[in-house]
Amino acid sequence: MSRNGLRKREPPTDTAFLLTITICMFMAMYILAVIFLGDKGFSKPQTFFNLLNEYAALIVLSCGLSVVMISGGIDISVGGVTALICMTCVVYLEDAGGGSTIAIAGCVIMRVLCGTETQVYELHNLVIVAVVLGCLAGMLAGAFNGILVSVFRIQPMVATLILFTAGRSIGSMVLGGNKPMVHVDAFSYWGNFIPGIPIPTPIFFALAGVIVIFLVLKFTNLALYAQSVGINENASRLNGLNPRSVKMMTYIIMGVCVGIAAFLQVSRQSSINPITITKNIEMDAILAVALGGNALSGGKFSMAGSVIGAYTIQALSTTLSTHNVPSEGVPAYKAIIIILIVIVQAPVVKEFFGKFWGNLTKKSSGTIRKVA
């Protein structure tokens, strides 16, 4: 029966194997870049940090997205939601004392955080409130996606397509087509440098994000629950899990990650254009997760893989730009290299190398026997 082959699930991806390949590719790429583009600054450690800096947002996003993917979902609304969150932050920062809904929500958060005596324009207060507000907006968007996926059982791709298409235009509509600047000084610290500290602030965020996710995975059952739901929903339910809430939870976690990422992005630029901000970041995030060796169908996962995947993508973009590739051409070149990486990771190739290795060891053991 021809269908037998198709019905069989793919064997579990050998996450470690794929991860190794990604790391090797990354190292090779970086070393090549150092050799050939050394004069353009690749030999300096500063470049390494710059890479981290520029794609701190992508790293945080990829971590969130891996969590969603473990449970068999996917989220392509990242870009749209980012635009929404950026819009929220900017509107709040410009209009903190005003009467708009966002400003009122901000006031509530501020009062909760700092007590009722706090004044709106004290330094940093405002920015911290904006972060929390951003995360809340992200969670809301995540919950929206989560409800569509888990309660209404809409396919994740379709469900998240809604905010993917609508997010940017909602943001743009709320801003009335303007591209406002933020005039709070402290705000730009977050996306650039805190005065006196040489390491860019987003790196701390990326680091913190990775550490938090790591701790969550270590001290909760998130991974086990999400994997279990991603692989077999029926069995998970019979083992007492509630697949709905597990899926919901993954989307909300994703929302928080998007919130942080969006905040970093808007703070770096101090102004936003909802239509272009973090353009195509959802695809980069999915790619990062895939490069990290995570199965898009759910199940096995590697958080470290996602982080390195995100880093690889950024390294690629930066290398290409440094190499005087025009910015419109970058995605095309990127595609070529990504195809290479994905092919090297493919099961077929893996099997081939497996056999190759097997033959090598067989031969060597044969010779050993002869010698003995």
Binding site: M1, N4, R9, N221, I231
Partner: protein, 510 residues
């Protein structure tokens, strides 16, 4: 190669990481014979079949097909099919989201354009010939498992096959359906088709088989003519030891009687669910083993699913140890100390890509809570304990459960529930599709657990097995409880009579 040989396999070897699944196995299938392939779990039956059908690549050995002098390498199921080797697997491998007709013809049509009318007409003809109660346009998922199985067979039969492999085809069929299948097999036999028949039911082997090949631990024990091999000898060849174990399990009948007056562990009154089962009453006492019996589709599984909260409960009342409880979802049942081993292992039981360890600890882990994961060492200790206790054959605790044999998967699921130390354990077809040795182990375990005070509901399609294990049987017909038998009344004849009711048994219940 002799003239009447359909296919022969010589010196087949196949190993997986940590396991030698096949060691130098020979197998010969002749024209017009039903050849039973026998062996315990992990004996290598499935592996041999998968090598033959191109699912696995063999490590060594030759395969010859009739009409070809050269040894062949079969690389894919498609290729095997083109060579005239058709397979019906133990677990249904059709597409539940397609219609019956589509399932019968998918992947076979060379034409790009589908002629729906012709396809449906042809499908109807085949279904009618084989007397399968399904319509071509029906979605496969809406058919019962038995009918899905028969559609799979119909598909295989309709293809021009020289060799038909039936891997546990009868494990989900009731007697009428089995009889029908056997008629079909005999019919195919007279047309010269060679049939490889894999089953755990000894009766069925002797009913249709001409020849028996026995495997044990990946090695060939031998090929025998069915009429020359007494049943006891076959069993001892499969198990590799003399068999008095079968006899030593005496019924659990003695185990309860003394405790009749105590408060039941679980009482259900007028319980019903959205699966369509009619309201039923049910009680079970501490240390009791009882069971639901009835034909396939009579509502056995639906009853226990309602008790466990696996289906949406729509009415009735449940008491545990005399107190009212509300069990509306599996988690609530688990909290009240109820465990449930589901009927369909592949769909509801295993979490395929997760390791044996994770599969074993998951239920206990869920009960323990989201914020309190077991450490790796704890989880491993639990898994190791139960792997040893139940003698689960696995390369390591980190092996994905999907790569274990069926019986060992079942043991792992059993381990999952034993680990939660339930007060009341529901086992729905725990012995389906697993070998006789493991069956006996499970039966023994059930009685042992009951003697330690656990209450167990045991469901099986094999009445002998139920009689051996249960002290009380609830009999079902058409989603309704029609009787309850215990003590002296608990005999095979009585069960049959109750199932059949007043009318003579002529219809099929499914």
């Amino acid at each position: 190669m002799l003239d009447n040989t359909v296919l022969s396999m010589r010196g087949i070897c196949k190993s997986f990481p940590g396991v030698n699944a096949l060691k130098n196995v020979d197998f010969t299938l002749r024209c017009g014979e039903v050849h039973a392939l026998m062996g315990e779990n992990g004996a290598g039956k499935s592996t041999l079949i998968k090598v033959l059908t191109g699912v696995y690549a063999k490590d060594a050995g030759q395969v010859y097909i009739k009409g070809d002098e050269k040894a062949l390498t079969i690389k894919s199921p498609q290729e095997a099919q083109n060579l005239g080797i058709s397979t019906v697997y133990q677990e249904i491998t059709l597409c539940p989201n397609l219609s019956v007709a589509e399932n019968m013809f998918i992947g076979r049509d060379k034409d790009t354009i589908v002629n729906w009318r012709r396809m449906n007409t042809r499908a109807r003809e085949i279904l009618d010939t084989l007397d399968i109660p399904a319509t071509p346009a029906q979605q496969l998922a809406n058919c019962s498992i038995a009918i899905q199985q028969m559609v799979a067979i119909a598909r295989a039969v309709d293809m021009d096959c020289k060799a038909l492999i039936l891997d546990e085809p009868t494990s989900s069929l009731d007697e009428n359906e089995v009889a029908k299948l056997f008629t079909l097999m005999r019919d195919l036999k007279t047309r010269g088709v060679g049939i490889i028949f894999v089953t755990h039911f000894l009766d069925q082997v002797y009913e249709v088989s001409d020849r028996i090949t026995v495997l044990r631990g990946g090695e060939l024990v031998g090929e025998f003519l069915a009429r020359d091999l007494p049943r006891v000898e076959l069993v001892s060849k499969m198990m590799g030891k003399e068999l008095d174990d079968l006899e030593s399990i005496s019924g659990g009948k003695a185990s309860i009687d003394a405790k009749l007056d105590q408060i039941p562990v679980l009482e259900a009154y007028g319980l019903t669910s959205n699966s369509g089962v009619k309201p039923f009453d049910f009680t079970i006492k501490r240390g009791e083993v009882n069971g639901f019996t009835g034909l396939l589709g009579s509502g056995r599984s639906e009853c226990v699913r309602a008790i466990y909260g696996a289906d949406r409960v729509t009415g009735g009342q449940v008491k545990m140890n005399g107190r009212n409880v509300k069990i509306d979802e599996p988690f609530a049942a688990m909290k009240h100390g109820v465990g449930y081993l589901p009927e369909d292992r592949k769909r509801d039981g295993i979490i395929a890509e997760l390791s044996v360890r994770e599969n074993i600890i998951i239920a206990l882990q869920v009960m323990r809570g989201f914020f309190r994961p077991f450490t790796a060492a704890q989880a491993k200790a639990f898994a190791d304990e139960y792997i040893k206790l139940l003698a689960i054959k696995t390369a390591s605790v980190d092996t994905p459960i999907a790569s274990l044999s069926g019986g060992n998967q079942q043991k792992a699921i059993l381990a999952r529930w034993l680990l939660t130390h339930p007060e009341y354990l529901i086992l729905d077809e725990p012995t389906r599709g697993i070998d006789i040795g493991t069956k006996i182990e499970i039966q023994k375990l059930v009685l042992e657990l009951a003697s330690e005070g656990m209450s167990i509901t045991f469901i099986s399609s094999e009445i002998e097995e139920m009689l051996r294990v249960c002290s009380r049987l609830v009999v079902m017909r058409d989603l309704r409880v029609v009787g309850e038998l215990s003590g002296e009344d608990l005999t095979q004849t009585n069960i049959m009579r109750t199932i059949a009711g007043n009318e003579a048994r002529n219809g099929r219940y499914s």
